[in-house]
């Protein structure tokens, strides 16, 4: 398999997780655009990066932040989000947790913690890779990850409020 085909497959296999990561800043359509741009940028590299997966996640992160900063794009994004909102997760019968519940719990986390959870769980990256992407030490990543999991667990275990008298 050629180098280009290998890199393309590598990203295509992780496209959903990368789009989920980009959605921390963007809507579904823009997130897909950003992943596509990151793949193009990866294929344009004269030499394949040492860690192509982490490199692409970082490219997705930078592009997503740039997109989110652009005022015109933000307006467009708001229109698209208003028109068609897509969930972060697919609903599947064999899931141990409901997709919407997971999304809500994630949304309640501070952005920098949520980012780590997404990269660790759905991006399947190591703490060192996450640290390189976010410019953080491994210890900081680990502490934030553990804290975020604890917060989510508390959130999910909280009993549902009912209007019973």
């Amino acid at each position: 398999m050629s180098d280009l085909a290998r890199l393309t497959q590598l990203v295509a296999e992780r496209a959903a997780a990368m789009a989920l990561y980009a959605r921390q800043w963007l809507d579904a359509a823009s997130a897909e655009d950003v992943v596509q741009e990151a793949l193009t940028a990866l294929l344009t590299q004269p030499r394949a990066p040492d860690d192509p997966v982490a490199w692409t996640y970082r490219a997705v992160r930078n592009a997503a932040i740039d997109h989110a900063r652009a005022a015109s794009r933000r307006r467009r994004r708001e229109r698209i989000v208003a028109a068609a909102r897509r969930e972060w997760f697919e609903t599947a019968a064999d899931s141990l947790i409901d997709g919407q519940t997971a999304e809500q719990a994630l949304r309640r986390l501070p952005p920098e913690h949520r980012e780590i959870v997404v990269l660790r769980i759905w991006g399947d990256l190591g703490l060192a890779q996450i640290g390189r992407i976010m410019h953080l030490s491994v210890t900081t990543v680990h502490e934030r990850y553990a804290w975020a999991l604890e917060q989510m667990r508390n959130e999910l275990e909280r009993p549902c409020r009912t209007n019973m008298p």
């Binding site: 496209a15 193009t40 899931s95 190591g126």
Partner: protein
């Protein structure tokens, strides 16, 4: 790994539960990405050659302009200039007897008789009858 050992069983359980949830599928057009990447790299290569050509053009224009400026810098009024020939005058060689000027002068003074004798071999009158 540090993260694997530091998590509590409850956190690990939650990790597994979260992993069972699949993110919404995203479409990535591999062919379009490869095409865009190819076009981008071709554009970069073209830009390199354009830059090289521009630099060469600048160098050529510079090399043409520099001597022109050098000549333009020379003083236009050259009346004050004095040309000095440093070479010693070459000795005047005497004209030979066969030179055109000597021969012309001899003819002017003495007529054809003034011309110097030639070393032409004698010409014999050959009759055709004697050959046969």
């Amino acid at each position: 790994m540090q993260d694997e050992h530091a998590l509590t069983p409850a956190q690990r359980e939650l990790e597994l539960a979260l992993k069972s949830v699949t993110p919404t599928a995203a479409r990535v057009d591999s062919a379009a990405a490869a095409f865009s990447a190819g076009r981008r790299s071709a554009r970069r290569r073209a830009r390199f050659w354009q830059s090289a050509a521009f630099v060469l053009l600048l160098a050529a224009a510079g090399s043409w302009l520099v001597p022109a400026r050098h000549i333009a810098d020379l003083p236009s009024d050259r009346s004050g200039l004095m040309v000095v020939d440093a070479h010693p005058p070459s000795p005047v060689r005497p004209l030979s007897d066969q030179s055109l000027f000597i021969l012309q002068a001899a003819v002017r003074e003495k007529g054809v008789d003034g011309l110097p004798a030639t070393d032409v071999p004698p010409v014999y009158n050959v009759q055709t009858i004697s050959t046969f």
